[in-house]
Amino acid sequence: MATYRAEIYITFKPGVLDPQAKTIQHALESMGFASVRKVMTGKYLEIELEASGLAEAEKEVSAMCQRLLANPVLEDARFHLTGPGAGVTGGTGGQASTGRTTSGGGASLPL
């Protein structure tokens, strides 16, 4: 077993009204940030979990997103896993950091 860390982003599905984002956009515009074209809000979560490998960690986090963390009627979730078992190596103490961002296919949602 190894420890993985999931960074999870939850955002509204396209087309779902996001009044907070609208309010923030208006505020930015009224402050003079004429460059702003779009604002989205969402939630960010970090979860540490034990799994036998990357595939299991992905499956587990995916299930968490579907069953609790995101509401499939309104929200999409995507996540980035770090831990042993994939591509990019980095950090210290022998811990591998995987650049595994799931979005679209595989372990990723849209739900």
């Binding site: 779902v16 009204l17 009044p19 907070q20 069953r67 609790l68 509401n71 009627v73 309104l74």
Partner: protein, 231 residues
């Protein structure tokens, strides 16, 4: 006849609901705690308002996965009555017992005020003593009451007469101005397809005694009683 009022950590309308049901129906009411499973002794389960689990993650999301909800699901599957009020409605949509979802109010404000709602369907077990078109005056108090469902889901709700209440003005006109939270099609309450699970954002239990400014909420509790008596 036995009513159960489900109590989650953070429920805060449980005592009001208990009182209103006992007062209006004269029947036995019990509190049912969030960790209970066996709810077979109840004819009606009510999920009251409040802030279950602090509204963490999303309003109702955590409560929807608590142990008692297995019992609520079974109860509903047997055709028995479930009423979710405010946070109770939010829990029912999160649990999938009612379709759609709740968004934050379009105004981004917590809305706490009396509203008017128009009764759209008087053939549910919860509204049988009313008549379609009747206007009720009930209080709301919520931050996430902005009902959403996709276009296909909305067509289904309309086709099956599942929209039970819509926000309206005092004359019964359903207008954007009368919509306190941005809810799609001014929806204030819906039933499931089978008609035995009702979710509503306004609080009938806060409007069941004249001293509280409105008795219009009695209609719901009296209708439930009538339904059980004729069954």
């Amino acid at each position: 006849m036995r009513f159960g009022v489900v109590v989650f950590p953070g429920s805060n309308c449980d005592a009001d609901t208990y009182h209103a049901v006992a007062e209006v129906t004269g029947e036995r009411v019990d509190y049912v705690f969030h960790n209970e499973h066996d709810l077979g002794r109840y004819d009606v389960l009510i999920l009251p308002g409040g802030f279950s689990y602090g509204d963490y993650l999303r309003a109702g999301a955590i409560a929807a996965h608590s142990a008692v909800m297995d019992g609520v699901r079974e109860h509903a599957a047997r055709g028995r009555l479930v009423l979710g009020i405010c946070n109770g409605f939010q829990i029912l949509v999160e649990a999938g017992l009612l379709p759609g979802a709740m968004r934050r109010n379009a105004s981004l404000q917590f809305r706490c005020e009396f509203v008017h709602i128009r009764l759209e369907n008087d053939r549910t077990p919860f509204t049988r003593l009313g008549r379609a078109g009747q206007i009720l005056r009930l209080p709301i108090a919520h931050m996430e009451g902005n009902y959403y469902i996709d276009p296909a889901g909305l067509r289904e709700l309309e086709h099956n007469h599942q929209i039970v209440f819509r926000y309206c003005d005092e004359h019964g006109y359903v207008t954007p101005q009368a919509n306190p939270n941005g809810s799609l099609e001014n929806i204030a309450g819906i039933v499931n397809r089978e008609g035995n699970v009702l979710g509503m954002m306004p609080h009938p239990e806060r409007a069941s005694e004249a001293i509280l400014g409105s008795e219009d909420g009695r209609l719901i509790f009296r209708s439930i009683l009538e339904t059980l008596e004729v069954a």
